[in-house]
């Protein structure tokens, strides 16, 4: 029998031992990002936050989603899950933000360099197919329990679509447009920022949407390592076999998911329409 697991364990232990200062630094950074976002969401009274999110929904989408946002968030508050929901939202937004911060440049790199693409692709396949729970173990070993390992696992799990769709978007920019841009003496930077990224933007925004949705699913799971939020409510429901509690937590997640999905999706589609009007 081959025990790959043993080697992985040794490797992770070795990392934990020798890179402790690095992990501590990451922990400080991630923790401050998550806490700041959480503070922003928690500091104002709940109705202000609801109104702000509903306003955003109204600006970006239709009346239906706006009403759903108002009603859904009010329901969450009324059920008494406001704090958990905001904690979850803060973790989603900050992890997704950090995933995008790394994922989009990686995607650009993969689109530009065939070799980079060859390396990145299998890594992404691995990251996406590995059962999400598995990430929780090294996360705990590196960062202990709490929000930071939750964010860490979420970043890894949510990053692949950002990378993939950025690469796709950039390679879909028509060859003749790229050639024309080069023929007018564009620097590689000008080509990227004035042509490739704007043209790839709808695709990249689809990636952003997917990253956020994947972050949501992972954030709930990361309640298992004490990341808190709505996941904790759901987990309590499971472990204590309280179906009502589980359902209440679940429905809060669904409401949050719909609102996040519709609002982020609108950024991709409205853009195309705006150009034609």
């Amino acid at each position: 029998m081959i025990h790959i697991g043993n080697y992985i364990e040794d490797f992770i232990n070795w990392l934990t031992k020798h890179f402790a200062p690095l992990f501590d630094m990451i922990k400080v950074v991630v923790e401050s990002v998550v806490n700041s976002v959480e503070w922003i969401l928690m500091f104002p009274p709940f109705f202000v936050v609801i109104m702000l999110i509903a306003f955003l929904a109204w600006k970006r989408t239709g009346l239906g989603i706006t009403i759903l946002t108002l009603a859904g968030l009010t329901l969450i508050w009324a059920m008494g899950y406001w704090e958990q929901t905001m904690a979850t939202l803060a973790l989603i937004l900050s992890s997704a933000f950090m995933a995008l911060l790394m994922g989009i440049p990686l995607g650009i790199w993969a689109a530009k360099k065939p070799l980079a693409k060859k390396i990145i692709r299998p890594v992404l396949d691995f990251m996406q197919t590995m059962p999400a729970f598995v990430y929780l173990i090294p996360a705990v070993l590196f960062f202990g329990l709490g929000k930071v390992p939750g964010a860490f696992a979420t970043i890894i799990f949510a990053m692949p679509p950002a990378v993939r769709l950025t690469t796709l978007g950039i390679s879909q920019v028509p060859e003749d447009v790229v050639e024309a841009t080069r023929s007018f003496g564009a620097t590689p930077k000008q080509l990227l920022f004035k042509v490739e990224l704007p043209l790839a933007l709808p695709t990249i925004l689809t990636g952003v949407n997917q990253t956020i949705m994947m972050a949501l699913s992972m954030v709930v799971i990361s309640a298992m390592i004490a990341a808190g939020g709505l996941g904790e409510t759901v987990l309590k429901g499971i472990t204590q076999l309280k179906i009502g509690l589980g359902f209440e937590g679940g429905i809060s997640v669904v409401i949050l998911a719909i609102i996040l999905d519709r609002i982020t999706q609108s950024f991709g589609t409205n853009r195309k329409k705006a150009l034609h009007s």
Binding site: E179, R182, F184, A186
Partner: protein, 412 residues
């Protein structure tokens, strides 16, 4: 000095370029090189010069390497060997930064598929080249507006480009290139994607624009009719090689290879061949006021002709004198030929085409005098036989060589 000079330019696609290049220098054929190295020779040892202000057309079928050759000029594709020299600047040895500068200031390109930015308006597209040069916004929009007017796009400034028709989109492409005020325009099958009616219209507009712009234009096409209509000179490419370079008339009248002739056959020559290329220069003339009746009769005897064109001392064309008229006025005791000149003869100009000269044959069965448009000076004579040969499509060889002597006699 020529504006653009291409020296021994070779472009090879494939992995073992160096090996393929040395095989090519040994004189191996394309097929042999492909077999030995797996490399394709896209352009083979092309050398030519393009003059300032010239409209130079490179014509060839798809796969002839014409578009690749064009892309070597601004190094969108790196040539494998050889040089491209712009004025005194060797383009092939420039650094990336210097090359960017050349692309920004000296050479602008127009593409078959337009290559416009779909997320920007017409105005922003036209100003794009200037934006890359970091020209301030108000200044570049002002410039762009001037060019937009030049290509007839006014009123469309704020439209998105993908809502425009093909012809309009290509106007944007042309305007974008012109906004940079380049010395050289590279046009890659610029009108090939347009439908025939729009294409002809764009060709005419480009010709009109060129009359005022005097840019050096390198134009790629697969359409010989287009090449002939637009080009001051045409280079014909086949399988990566330039097989002939010449003016449209040179190519039509003197195709270098069977390949070129097979193309040329399909072209309607009547509207291209001009009096200038058909006429016999310096014909024997009777000079009124210098050659008297006697002098003119002597000239006829020496040349064996019975009719001579009559010109003034300033070589201005007056008409024709006939042997029998001269003999008649001689018997009446006249000494000057003025009375014998038959005037009001229709004349052709050097640029008059065969098509336009046809009515002249029908009218009088006489040779057609060719005169300078400005001062009416006689430049030469087009024999009606030449006109008939051109219109009936008998090959040129038949009227060269021995036939010339015969013609000279028959001319007048």
């Amino acid at each position: 000095m020529s504006k653009l000079k291409i020296e021994d330019l070779t472009l090879i696609f494939g992995k073992e370029k160096e090996e393929a290049l040395s095989l090519l220098k040994e004189g191996k054929s394309k097929a042999e090189i492909l077999e030995q190295t797996g490399c394709t020779i896209a352009v083979k040892e092309a050398s030519f010069q393009i003059e300032k202000g010239e409209f130079f057309v490179i014509m060839g079928l798809s796969g002839s390497g014409k578009s690749s050759l064009l892309r070597c000029l601004n190094r969108l594709i790196e040539p494998t060997s050889g040089k491209v020299i712009l004025d005194r600047l060797n383009i092939t040895s420039l650094t990336d930064k210097e090359l960017q500068e050349v692309r920004r200031k000296e050479m602008a390109m127009v593409f078959q598929k337009f290559g416009l930015l779909p997320h920007r308006s017409v105005l922003e597209n036209v100003a794009f080249g200037l934006e890359l040069q970091q020209v301030p916004e108000t200044e570049r929009e002002e410039k762009a507006k001037t060019v937009i007017e030049l290509v007839g796009l006014n009123g469309y400034e704020n439209q998105p480009t993908d809502a425009l028709s093909g012809g309009m989109q290509q106007r944007v492409g042309l305007a974008r290139a012109l906004a940079n005020e380049p010395e050289i325009l590279l046009m890659d099958e610029a009108f090939s994607a347009l439908d025939p009616l729009i294409r002809t219209q764009m060709q005419e507009e480009l010709i009109d624009l060129q009359k005022t712009m005097h840019k050096t234009i390198v134009f790629i096409t697969h359409d010989l009719d287009e090449a002939i209509r637009l080009g001051d000179r045409i280079a014909i490419m086949k399988d990566g090689e330039i097989i002939q370079i010449g003016t449209p008339e040179e190519i039509l009248t003197n195709p270098a290879t069977d390949y070129v002739s097979s193309f040329v056959e399909k072209v309607d020559r009547k509207s291209i061949i001009t009096a200038a290329s058909l006429m016999f220069e310096k014909p024997t003339v009777a000079i009124a006021g210098k050659d008297g009746v006697e002098g003119s009769l002597r000239k006829m005897r020496v040349s064996g002709l019975t009719t001579l064109p009559a010109v003034s001392i300033d070589k201005e064309f007056l008409g024709f004198v006939y042997l029998r008229d001269l003999l008649e006025i001689k018997s009446q005791g006249h000494h000057v030929i003025a009375k014998a000149i038959r005037r009001d003869i229709p004349v052709a100009y050097p640029e008059t085409t065969v098509e336009q000269m046809l009515p002249f044959i029908a009218e009088n069965g006489r040779a057609v005098p060719v005169v300078n448009k400005n001062n009416n000076k006689l430049l030469g004579i087009v024999a009606q036989t030449s006109l008939l040969i051109e219109t009936t499509g008998t090959s040129w060889e038949n009227i060269t060589g021995n036939a010339i002597d015969h013609l000279q006699n028959e001319i007048i």
